[in-house]
Subunit: 153 residues, 4 copies
């Protein structure tokens, strides 16, 4: 059974996950899960959950899983592509769950899929994320990578 | 020249755009633009802008443009698909701009593309959004649609 | 158990499926399957299967399933979006299988996912297709739709 | 002006481009163009061009451009992701053109977009392809890469 890093993710003092009120409930290199109570910060103009929230949830879970798989290999990951299909409209007050699992975890790239579900376990959104694996000694955006999941941080 | 609804969008008291600090700078049925100063609420664990922010910006701009085109036709829109490519990593402090234009604006569906640019006008992310056009007298998520852009609201 | 239309699909005298040597092995409104022996007509310049073959297989299976679901409802379908991830390179001589199942089958749109597998059941490609449902009395490309799966043809 | 390799592409004795009757009209590292006369081999069951043809055209053009850019750097490319939006239905007899240009051409990955146009220059389909750049001394599908565009072939 692979190690669960969810507590460390939730202790982050700031970031998109915190701004969006996302709680990571499982964070392993084989599966990542999260929960979210829909509030006004998640809505678009029609009063339903903004598509960017679903994309972002899917991106987060895929990235965490891929990063956890890459970490012991001396790699980190960076998202390349996110494609998300919106299946059902969701309104404020609803509780969402999301789960992500890998399709491929290679040395060069990984692909993870993720689904967002409502309280009846109906699919609300589904998507895939492609991530590039980068050796830790290579720069990202001009700096060495030092992520929350990396040794020493 | 089509009417600019950007002021009305920015006066919204709450929602994802407000939570993410996005300012709409142009909102017409032909083009939509926005700006964003990157803060901690936009970051993922490695300290760069979360992919979900780019997806969400692209989703917002496409949706606003498509809604403005649909409105005088007695329609509203709902996002079906969002695919976003991440091109360059962006760190806190950066100022982002985004612009969206239509690829097709049909009676049944619309497709808008959008690009997120940094201060040097380099492409940071790019994507397309497919939206379904729905007659206003048809329900969405079990309720009649009453959006901020709709007559009487 | 929903009716299997695979024989009728394979009897088509011409079309992309025939040009690509695809055999439909199951065609129901709940699941669609196909097989393909990789020949030179499927290859790109490096000698591996062209990505368009995977996209096309995924498109075919999703479209057949969605059309079969739409048919008894007096609807036909048209593809809106196809996103496909390439997972493993495949060379000539390999035998590929593909299977597609629905994610959502609504009155307005459907989403089907599909996977292409090699002889070891390893995922070679995976994708999703979004399709628009259109009432049969509405025109497509300027003509009434008369598909191979429609009554009277 | 970058070198045009279109003649070499069209002299290929076999492959998907030949099976689909595609003529490459420009092949440089900055832009790739192709033409296609729609025949029965491009059609799906409703008698319109199969979505896989559009995906495949977009995949081809993006891949050729990316490969030409990668070649002088001692790299080849492999497609990771293809997302294609279908805009207009096309029937047999129509003449299609396609054009692809780069969005980013990095050392690790490239992104190219492409559009398929009809005779009135209306957009018929549009998409993006993400490609991974691989050093030529690294294996693909268990063999050294020897493509039609590589030195010595």
């Amino acid at each position: 059974m692979s190690q669960d890093f969810s507590q460390r993710m939730n202790e982050l003092p700031e970031g998109w996950l915190q701004a969006m009120g996302v709680t990571i409930t499982l964070a392993t290199q084989d599966e990542v899960r999260a929960e979210l109570r829909v509030g006004t910060e998640h809505l678009q103009g029609y009063g339903i959950v903004h598509g960017g929230v679903h994309c972002g949830l899917i991106e987060s879970l895929a990235s965490i899983g891929a990063a956890l798989f890459a970490m012991p290999r001396g790699q980190h990951v960076v998202g390349l592509e996110n494609n998300t299909s919106f299946i059902r409209a969701v309104r404020a007050g609803a509780k969402l769950k999301a789960v992500s699992t890998p399709i491929t975890r290679g040395r060069r790239t990984q692909v993870w899929e993720a689904r967002v579900l409502d309280e009846k376990d109906q699919v609300v959104a589904t998507g895939r994320v492609r991530l590039l694996c980068i050796e830790n000694d290579q720069a990202l955006a001009g700096e060495q990578v030092q992520g929350v999941l990396h040794p020493g941080t």
